[in-house]
């Protein structure tokens, strides 16, 4: 079957990503992407939820995406999606950098603690 130009709800539902599929399922008559995202993100943002790990900036980016998803023509939607993708890629790079710093920090702390433990025990 042709999948081109599917409506937002069908595209999200078939995305293979749990959180996006949940938004797609939540959309319906009288329920645009923005309000469906609002409902889904409330539950998924709780402690231990699917998007609990996202920081405030990431969530704002996603709020912005869903507020405009499906609301304009194809060209503007492509611009929106590429802008959001760029922002998320920058966030991912930042998170990787932070992770490497944190990795070095924890490695140093671990070595120091091990050394201290060795000194105390010996």
């Amino acid at each position: 079957m042709l999948k081109l130009l599917e409506p937002v709800a069908a595209a999200l539902s078939g995305s293979g990503c749990d959180i996006l599929a949940a938004v797609g399922r939540a959309m319906g008559p009288g329920e645009a992407a923005a309000s469906a995202w609002g409902k889904v993100s409330q539950g998924a943002g709780r402690r231990g939820g699917a998007i609990d790990a996202l920081d405030a900036a990431d969530r704002r980016t996603l709020d912005q995406l869903f507020s405009q998803l499906g609301e304009t023509g194809r060209e503007r939607q492509e611009l929106l999606l590429s802008a959001v993708l760029n922002t998320l890629e920058r966030s991912l790079d930042q998170a990787r950098t932070n992770a490497r710093s944190a990795e070095r920090l924890y490695l140093s702390l671990g070595l120091l603690l091990g050394l201290m433990l060795a000194l105390i025990v010996i």
């Binding site: 599917e6 709800a9 645009a32 023509g73």
Partner: protein, 350 residues
């Protein structure tokens, strides 16, 4: 109907209830920002007390488009889109024009929803007259102003021909004839019917000829030279075609420059008029169309008819084109032409 159930939840309560109460015979729902909502039914008209607010219209339009403007963009440029059950949503508003073509629609000011419905038996009157000795239909053009049942009649003819064992192909550019959802017709168009939808008829017809070996091709609302050329080619390939076009009478049809390429393509013309679904007249149009175009048809300032126009069904006082919303001048000219042919026709009342 799916559209009616869906609309009921989107419309203001007063309108939703009125629509549900008239679900059986509603034909059109018209929504205009700042104006009362209008329901046009077979039994009459209903107007809401309260006007529809502009933001309500926007909300309804967004919901009807599944909150997916991008997916409807190409259709909106043409002024309409079609819901999954074949209901056509016409959209009027501010178009974006780049100097050469419409590139989009900036704002919507009103919607006209036309509900598609199958009417089994609506082709009973025309059916025996459309078939030749071999049981194949004559190539036939169905005419009327908008809203008199051309599409419904075409759908019923597709179903009947298909049930009679003919391989039928439908070029369903506007998704109204078969209302396909994911390639599968949701309206009954018969067991031996294939549908190509969502693309211009001029593109669909050659592909159907190659892909589906049709005996009959059916197309709705022929509107331009490209459509006409594709149909003419199908007829030259030995396929019968049944199509519809907007025209208030036969003369108006012959005058449509965009359809000049259809001269010689159709054997019969069926004119709807008077009321939705009523067959006002069936006429052999092949020779008459050609005579009109070559200036040999009497009436309207052209020369006398060389051959008498043959009517399968006759008129009671003038051309049935006037029965619809056609111009009276054309109707009078048609009546004159009928007189030249000696009359003797048979009017089909439905």
């Amino acid at each position: 109907m799916e559209s009616i159930a869906r609309l009921r939840g989107l419309l203001p309560a007063e309108v939703g209830e009125a629509l549900a109460a008239r679900a059986g015979d509603v034909r059109e729902l018209r929504l205009r920002a700042g104006r009362p909502v209008q329901l046009r039914c077979a039994s009459g008209e209903w107007l809401s007390r309260a006007p529809l607010k502009a933001d309500e219209l926007d909300r309804i339009l967004d919901a009807l488009m599944d909150y997916s403007w991008y997916a409807r963009e190409a259709e909106l440029r043409e002024g309409f889109f079609t819901l999954s059950d074949g209901c056509r949503v016409g959209v009027c508003g501010r178009l974006v024009w780049d100097g050469e073509r419409v590139t989009g629609m900036a704002e919507a000011g009103s919607l006209c929803l036309r509900f598609a419905r199958a009417v089994p038996g609506c082709a009973d009157v025309v059916w025996p007259r459309l078939l030749d000795r071999d049981g194949l239909p004559f190539s036939t053009l169905i005419l009327s102003p908008p809203g008199l049942g051309k599409t419904t009649l075409l759908r019923e003819l597709a179903r009947r021909l298909s049930e009679e064992g003919r391989n039928v192909c439908i070029a369903d550019e506007r998704h109204e004839l078969a209302a396909c959802h994911r390639g599968v017709p949701t309206l009954d168009v018969g067991p031996r019917t294939d549908v190509m939808d969502g693309c211009p008829k001029a593109a669909a017809i050659p592909r159907m000829l190659r892909a589906a070996a049709p005996e009959v091709i059916i197309a709705d609302e022929i509107g331009g030279a490209a459509d006409a050329a594709a149909l003419a080619e199908a007829v030259r390939c030995g396929v019968r075609v049944i199509a519809s076009a907007h025209a208030g009478g036969f003369r108006q049809l012959y005058r449509r420059e965009g359809l000049a390429g259809l001269d010689g393509v159709f054997e019969l013309g069926a004119l709807l008029g008077g009321a939705p679904g009523h067959i006002a007249e069936i006429r052999k149009i092949g020779e008459e169309w050609h005579a009109f175009r070559t200036g040999n048809l009497r009436g309207g300032g052209v020369r006398a008819v060389r051959k008498r126009p043959v009517r399968l069904c006759p008129a009671q006082g003038g051309d049935a084109g006037g029965a619809g919303r056609g111009d009276q001048g054309a109707a009078d000219a048609d009546a004159q032409a009928a007189g030249a042919g000696g009359g003797g026709a048979v009017r089909l009342g439905v």
